[in-house]
Amino acid sequence: MGWASPRVALPGNPPMDMLASLLHLTPATFWMVSKVVIVFFGVFLLASVWTWVERRGSAMIQDRIGPNRALLFGKWPLLGLSQLAADGIKFFFKEDLVPADANKGLFWLAPFLAFVPALIGFAVIPFGRSFESGGQMYHLSVLDPGNGMGLLYPMAIGGMAVYGVLVAAWSSNNKWSILGGMRASAAMVSYEIGMTLAVVSIFMTTGGYDPSEVIAAQGHLPWAWNIVHQPLGFIVFFTCMFAETNRLPFDFAEGESEIVAGFNTEYGSMKFSLLALAEYSHLMTASALVATLYFGGWQVPFIVNPPVLLSVGCFLAKMLFFAWVFVWIRWTLPRFRYDQLMHLGWKVMLPLSMANLVFHAWRLSQGH
């Protein structure tokens, strides 16, 4: 263990144990609960901060200034971060309108159906090095490795996310919404396959599908990471992630220049805000997946067994970098046409990921 670890208040250390006993929990349960809170609250927080990054970042890219007028307590603009609080308050106090012909129950359910999968996809991703303390292993991921689901879990959950969009679209009984929902489900079907095949070739070279195995197999040397071995797979996976998270250049579900606001045309107030947050949480989960699969997860370049906090920091840096790339690409590329998306999905991404799979299978058979 590195030099920093004794100073870190980690479970197994007296303060955490004391806190656990105060709450009448065993240290293991306490650890579990705090992990859940840290991960989900952290992703939620990052997602809302990312709405700020998106707005300020896009402003900078387009030579604008972005939101900088909201003042916290009438004093601090905090580089526009106060806008977050202002928006939150505004969304809470807006009239919560449900269209008369909407399916009320589903209309209410849809934002949660979108939000929850986006958030829980994060559960298996290790955000730091596992460590041993007091004779017990502690893993920095909500679900410990070896749970049998591994990376299949975020894939499956990611596929679930489209239900939120689809239900939102269908229940609001609006033609624009239906068009948006239909586009989202079609995009999901055509991109899921390419994406999954790209990931399968990683499972193949790793010899397992547990995220900790994938990370361990990549090691601490940057040129041993999957991005170097499978650049093609990375391109396919990353592109499909844009379709998966419904973001530009593939944001057909929303497509505000064509179908008003797509699936969330009828949504307002906090429900809309929840849908927007779902998109950003999904973006966070997607960038965490990219970092885990192709950039060595929490591995710190050139440091074997890094201190736990350093590994967490490194994972965060990688994840936030990719989250920034999502924003960056959004403000660089225009939206594709719908048939171009289908063309790209079925005739380019799918063959590419298949070629990638076959190539790595061949390499494995050659004993590499």
Binding site: G57, M60, I61, D63, R64, W328, T332
Partner: protein, 187 residues
């Protein structure tokens, strides 16, 4: 006549799509960094209440009734501007007065009332063109707004003081020329 549309032949590098995307991303990132490092005061956006746009030469904004050195109004109430105004928003009432100040002659004419309805004014500058005395000018001030309609009816003293305010001069509410009033003429 039809136009022959030339099809652009893309090189194989451009057709991969990945390379052009990277080029595009480098452009947007360049903008991002440049804008990030530019201090707020030098950015393109003029942040209005704190920063104001420097209007170009010849901009036509709020009117000003010019004064002489001693503060007396230059306008001689000749009604030229009132006639020239296409929006019919100037209304003048003239008065005759005996000026005891030698510099301005003895018998004089000046506006008793000089009202401009700023809600109807189209800032065309015709009044400025028409004035033989250069007594009415359009300033560069563009913040002509008020909370009610009545505040947009500018009177003689308001118009004379738009000038004082912008140049940091003393506001006046009385003609400094000692005078004996004869009669008032309304057109």
């Amino acid at each position: 006549m039809g136009v022959v549309v030339k099809k652009v032949e893309l090189s194989w590098l451009d057709r991969t799509y990945v390379w052009p995307v990277m080029k595009g991303m480098s452009i947007t990132f360049g903008h991002f960094i440049r804008q990030l490092l530019t201090p707020t005061s030098k950015r393109f956006t003029i942040q209005y209440p704190e920063m104001k746009k420097d209007m170009p030469e010849g901009y036509r904004g709020l009117h000003e009734l010019k004064r002489f050195e001693d503060g007396a109004i230059k306008c001689v109430a000749c009604f030229m501007c009132q006639e020239a105004c296409p929006a019919r928003c100037i209304s003048i009432e003239a008065e005759e007065f005996s000026d005891l100040n030698i510099t301005q002659g003895f018998e004089e004419k000046r506006p008793a009332k000089f009202d401009i309805d700023m809600l109807r004014c189209i800032y065309c500058g015709m009044c400025e063109e028409a004035c033989p005395k250069d007594a009415i000018w359009l300033r560069k001030d563009y913040e002509v707004a008020a909370y009610d309609r009545l505040s947009m009816q500018y009177g003689k003293w308001d118009l004379m003081n738009t000038y004082a305010e912008a140049d940091g001069k003393e506001r006046i509410s009385q003609d400094p020329t000692p005078s004996v009033l004869r009669r008032t003429i309304a057109l």
